[in-house]
């Protein structure tokens, strides 16, 4: 007898449909899985055998061949346990097959027949929707996530026995449904707020500009000056994510197995702060079972690299592709996987290895060469993709105690939102969204300078010792400042402020 079950698998963050065909024939007892299974898929034979027996069914003593189609893609992960088990039961007529045509099945089995959650269900459910599938049988824990996909009815199940009962029509399981609006609007309470940062108006303004034009930013300041605290608050002033963005982020987290149980849809912009000991694979993704890296987990959000010069050189190096292309590509034997990786980079560093270079209270113990080496670790191609540099002074304790009104994230975000709208309008039919993405050709077109501005920027290079590579970056940032000011043209004051954000070019510490 032959049975056919529809299931799904994951490639990168996208799902695709896999047909699980099971054939039972006479011959020496054997159990084979063909169609490019990886070792995890092959292991499912043992789980399926035990689960079937332990759920009170018969495991056939015949020749069993399972084919996973399409056969040209490598199948990874434990998604097929449940469909294979159901397939065997169907092929041996231990269950009614009439419902199987319209229903897709995903799930891992434990030896006792319980169904365990799997990663990437959201993406798989989307692939079903695309192919017109209306019903999905999936692990209970994944039901909420799958139910986000409109038009797919989700039936959550706990174990193999329950699945069989449901397919036989002996047990009624209601389709799981959720209210997406509920997630989108009720869950967007971000726990941190800019109003908690006392003083530091200078840096807050720089963050506002960075958020408005999607400019990468680097902070230079002594330890404990609040760099981490400020960076954490960046997501709170970025525009809220759209539903499509939320789905894309959720797909990434789901495929990495990092979706929190309480939150089937990620609606807040991610904030990732990997430690400086991270490997290149951890940063951009990869590994034997490919997983998205930090750059993808920061998709549509913020990637914060604290103590940036401490990161390994090869790790900083691999950041270049995602910064440039907004994706990462991982090459495998049988496939190339791409993960989206469009993030805002925030870097932080001390002014010198010991951190006390600017301090009046502590003495810095670094030699000029050490300082130079420290700074040069982040210079070059990486620094070329950072538009805004800002120095963070050590906060005076009295400033922290003083009760000064600080602006809330909400009120800053309103300005950011309007500036983003201006950019969306201006770049309507162009292949980019924000000022930070302007290429030299478009800088010429959209960042025109009038006469006084031209004179100012020339003077700035002569008198302030800016390096030539700063030029385009200053123009882009000036464009954003003008947009925050709702000004069609870049004026002198916009340009003058933009010039403030190029400290690292000015080599002040030499």
């Amino acid at each position: 007898m032959l049975s056919k079950i529809t299931s799904c698998a994951l490639l990168g963050i996208n799902g695709y449909i896999v047909e699980v065909e099971t054939d039972i024939s006479n011959g020496l007892p054997a159990f084979d899985i063909v169609g490019l299974p990886d070792s995890a898929v092959r292991e499912s034979r043992e789980r399926v055998r035990s689960a079937i027996k332990n759920s009170g069914f018969n495991f056939p003593i015949n020749r069993i061949t399972v084919n996973l189609a399409p056969a040209d893609t490598r199948k990874e992960g434990p998604f097929f346990d449940l469909p294979i088990a159901i397939g065997i039961l169907a092929a041996t007529e231990q269950l009614k097959t009439d419902k199987l045509k319209q229903i897709a099945i995903i799930g891992e089995l434990s030896l006792n027949g319980d169904v365990k959650p799997v990663t990437g269900v959201l993406s798989m459910a989307y692939s079903l929707q695309k192919r017109g599938f209306k019903k999905l049988l999936c692990p209970l824990e994944n039901a909420e996530e799958a139910a986000i996909v409109e038009g797919v009815q989700v039936y959550p199940i706990k174990n193999l026995k329950e699945s069989v009962d449901f397919l036989n029509g002996e047990k009624h399981i209601p389709a799981f449904s959720i209210d997406i609006k509920n997630y989108l609007y009720n869950n967007s309470n971000i726990e941190v707020d800019f109003s908690e940062v006392k003083g530091q108006e200078n840096i807050k303004r720089a963050f506002e500009v960075a958020a408005a034009g999607h400019h990468n930013i680097i902070m230079i300041g002594p330890p404990g000056s609040g760099k981490t605290m400020i960076a954490r608050r960046m997501p709170s002033i970025l525009p809220a994510m759209t539903f499509e963005e939320a789905v894309e982020v959720t797909k990434i987290y789901s495929s990495a197995g990092l979706l929190p149980n309480s939150r089937p849809l990620i609606v807040n912009r991610p904030f990732r702060a990997p430690h400086h000991t991270i490997s290149a694979a951890g940063m951009v993704g990869g590994g034997r079972m490919p997983k998205p890296g930090e750059v993808s987990l920061a998709h549509f959000g913020v990637l914060f690299l604290d103590e940036m010069p401490e990161f390994r050189r090869d790790v900083l190096e691999v950041l270049r592709q995602p910064l440039e292309d907004e994706i990462v590509t991982i090459t495998r034997v049988n496939a190339t996987i791409t993960y989206p990786a469009k993030f805002l980079l925030i870097g932080s560093m001390n002014p010198c290895p010991c951190g006390f270079l600017w301090s009046e209270k502590h003495e810095c113990s670094c030699t000029p060469n050490q300082i130079q080496r420290y700074i040069s670790k982040i210079s070059g191609p990486l620094l070329d993709r950072v538009d805004i540099h800002i120095e963070v002074p050590a906060v005076e304790f009295k400033d922290l105690e003083e009760n000064i009104e600080s602006e809330t994230s909400d009120s800053i975000r309103k300005r950011v939102d309007s500036a983003r709208m201006v950019q969306l309008q201006r770049y309507k039919n162009l292949p980019f969204l924000y000022n930070s993405q302007l290429t030299p050709r478009y800088i010429q077109r959209f960042c025109r300078l009038n006469k006084p501005c031209k004179k100012m920027i020339k003077d700035a290079f002569d008198k302030l010792g800016l390096s030539a590579r700063a030029y385009n970056r200053i123009l882009k940032v000036a464009r954003t400042i003008a947009d925050l000011d709702m000004s069609e043209n870049i004026r002198e004051e916009h340009l003058a402020e933009a010039i403030q954000y190029r400290n690292l070019d000015r080599k002040f510490w030499i």
Binding site: G199, Q200, E201, N202, K204, R205, V209, G221, P222, P351, L357, W358, E363, T367, P368, Q372, I390, E391, V392, P393, A394, D399, I404, M456, D459, A460, K463, L464, G465, I481, L484, D485, E492, E493, H494, L495, A496, E497, I499, Q500, R506, K507, F508, W509, I510
Partner: protein, 362 residues
């Protein structure tokens, strides 16, 4: 044709300093004669010292004076020998003046009124600001600023003079074709435009540690006095001060915090009798230079041209440095506006940005 190429060739030989040049000149009347002299004549000059004779005889074969000179000319480098009229007068008067000076840029008669400003490579913000300010203010009185183009205090001294649009001279511890430290390449170019870069070392000389003390005698030797701005216990700047004393020039020191290790050297100099410097007048008085500003008051003109916002914010910035945050907090303008005004004040030369987001009025 002058003798210059032979001077250059001879100075390329290790171990031939100004003393030996003098001996040779006395004996042969010119370096050219010496270059073409027979082996035994050469030996006559140096008498017992066989080693130096052999070195000279050996090197004479390998060095082609014309080729050396062509190379120098092609680089736009000028050479001054001790016999040249243009050789700096102050330097000629020291005990061991370099026989040959390689020059990029121009040395002028007026550079005789010059002061050296030196200090540690690793300096505090305070030290750097003082160095720059002193250099700039001295240069307003027509004084040429001499220093060593090292990072830290030296660079600030040069920058101060350049920002005052005045003259400055850098003395190198390398060949004139070597940029050291590398990151000062653009500063070096500016110094050449505003004065000169000089060295006694032949082309291609790398920055060997032993070159720098010798170089320091030229820094003090070119100048009427040497100001040490910040020096720790064992800073090379103290060597320069020692040379200045030996050469009979003035030594000045800027006092520092008694607890700061960056100033132990300076404070000790003061204890030993160096002139304490609080401002330009301490220097001008000691050197007997009349108070007559020549580069007229760019600053006052700039200050008069400010708009109201600029005036208001300038008033909020102290001569001791003010953090940007407190300027923003105490002004009635937005953070963005304040930052824009700060840029424009800095470009007008009225304030200077300091590390750690603060500004100082200058």
């Amino acid at each position: 044709m002058s003798d210059t190429k032979y001077w250059v060739a001879l100075s390329c030989i290790k171990g031939i300093g100004s003393q030996k040049f003098q001996m040779i000149l006395k004996h042969f009347n010119s370096i050219k004669n010496f270059w073409h002299a027979e082996g035994h004549e050469v030996k006559e000059v140096f008498g017992m010292n066989q080693k130096i004779c052999n070195t000279i005889l050996k090197y004479r074969e390998t060095i082609n004076p014309d080729e050396e000179m062509d190379k120098i000319n092609s680089m736009g480098v000028k050479v001054l020998t001790l016999n040249d009229e243009d050789y700096p007068c102050n330097l000629k008067n020291i005990y061991d003046p370099p026989p040959v000076l390689y020059v990029k840029g121009n040395l002028k008669k007026q550079d005789e009124i010059s002061v050296a400003i030196v200090g540690s490579r690793k300096a505090t913000v305070y030290g750097k600001v003082i160095a720059e300010k002193l250099a700039r203010e001295l240069s307003e009185y027509g004084i040429t600023i001499v220093s060593g183009m090292a990072i830290g205090i030296d660079s600030c001294a040069h920058k101060g003079a350049i920002s005052g649009n005045a003259r400055t001279i850098a003395v190198l511890g390398t060949g004139i074709d070597i940029v050291y430290p590398r990151r000062n390449a653009s500063l070096m170019q500016k110094i050449i435009e505003h004065g000169a870069v000089v060295t006694e070392f032949p082309l291609g000389t790398t920055p060997l540690p032993q070159n720098f003390p010798a170089r320091n005698r030229i820094i003090s030797g070119l100048s009427l006095g040497t100001i040490v701005v910040e020096a720790s216990e064992r800073s090379g700047a103290l060597i320069t001060a020692d040379f200045a004393l030996q050469q009979g020039r003035e030594v000045f020191a800027v006092p520092g915090n008694v607890t700061s290790k960056y100033s132990t050297g300076c404070n000790r100099l003061i204890k030993q009798g160096a002139k304490l410097v609080e401002g330009v007048f301490d220097v001008l008085d000691e050197l007997g230079i009349v108070y007559e500003k020549i580069s007229n008051e760019i600053k006052d003109i700039a200050e008069n041209k400010l708009n109201d916002e600029e005036k208001e914010i300038l008033e909020m910035i102290s001569y001791q440095s003010s953090p940007v945050d407190s300027i923003i907090r105490h002004s009635r303008f937005s953070a963005g506006k304040v930052k824009a005004v700060l840029t424009s004040l800095e470009m007008k030369g009225l304030i200077r940005s300091l590390p750690g987001s603060s500004y100082i009025r200058i």
